[in-house]
């Protein structure tokens, strides 16, 4: 009888501890990328080298947790210093005045299989708008050092004009030098905090 009570206490306690499991982003195995159309005909890709997030779950159930991301705009990298500086200027991000891009999740729900939708509020410059992102769950593993890791792919599109990133030179035929739609493509690996 004592053993049963003991076992029940353990069960209840461990399920309480399972709530609000915290995860840290493994930056070495994560990437925050974006791409736009250049001159109508090709895609130019860049990424942000510095980003962070607070992610909590209920055990391994992320639909019952909290997701918040923050991106350092000054860490933008398109492999071209001149272009990076142009992007940090007021023509685009105005990184001096608005150094962060943030996302605050409001809900994550399963669509089917390993596909989810992540809703939240996305802020660039001083504009906040609700967005819906597509999430693909990559799985959970134990790494060679005993840490539990989870992988996600997060994708979405925004219209940069909605957020005041207004620069818009056109070519002769009328097409944009830099497209207004920005595709975001993030690969994130998280490590469970012990």
């Amino acid at each position: 009888m004592k053993n049963i009570i003991f076992a029940l206490i353990i069960l209840v306690t461990s399920s309480l501890f399972a709530q609000n499991t915290s995860w840290t982003i493994d930056n070495a195995h994560s990437k925050v990328e974006f791409s736009v159309t250049h001159l109508v005909i090709s895609e130019v890709t860049g990424n942000f080298k510095k980003f962070d997030g607070t992610i909590t779950s209920n055990g391994n159930d992320f639909t019952k947790g909290n997701i918040e991301f923050s991106i350092d705009v000054n860490s933008i990298n398109t492999e071209n210093e001149q272009r990076d500086n142009h992007l940090k200027s007021d023509d685009f991000f105005n990184a001096a005045k608005f150094p962060k891009i943030t996302f605050k999740g409001t809900s994550l729900y399963k669509v089917n299989g390993n596909k989810y939708k992540l809703k939240g509020n996305f802020t660039m410059r001083d504009v906040t708008k609700p967005i819906v992102l597509d999430v693909v769950y990559g799985g959970t593993v134990k790494d060679p050092w005993g840490n539990e890791r989870v992988g996600f792919k997060i994708m979405g599109k925004v219209n940069r004009f909605d957020y005041g990133l207004k620069w818009n030179n056109l070519v002769e035929a009328g097409g944009a030098v830099v497209g207004k739609e920005v595709t975001m493509n993030c690969n994130i690996e998280l490590i469970k905090k012990k």
């Binding site: 109508v40 492999e79 790494d143 060679p144 992988g151 070519v171 690969n187």
Partner: protein, 181 residues
Amino acid sequence: MNSNNLNQIWNIDPAHSRIQFSVRHMVISEVIGNFKVFDLKMKSSEEDFSESEIEFNIDVNSIDTGIPDRDAHLKSDDFFGTDKYETISFKSSSLKKLNDEQYKLIGNLTIRNITRPIELDVELGGIITDPWGNERAGFSIRGTISRFDYDLKWNSLIETGGAVVSKNVKIICDVEVIKQK
């Protein structure tokens, strides 16, 4: 195919091109890297891109995955062996038009001096005249290779047997080429 018809040369614009690759890390996520130094040349006919010849060379030492330790490991003999093998090269043998936008590119890829035939999917984004009067064409090039075929053999496994770094490598290239006048 008459090579004499391929009179038009197109040169890559590196500022608007990327040569990227991705692998799966510990089964669960995708890790992306790119090569910063590369060259690509295309010879096409005056009319269109079908039957074009494409050659590209990549400086393997320009590999960048955002983490210096990892880049150093990739340059070591566990992977690329850049002490001995400094260049990845590709030479096309055919570019077949499938429809208005899609092409099949077949050619030989050489990594670590091992040459193997590969097939790549190419999509033409369009042709446009830029604000400086140059004609530009945009292409996306996608494919998958097994790195074991080229002797990039490092293969640690995790407890459950999955690979720390997948053997399959996705090739993700977006290139913009400028018509030589």
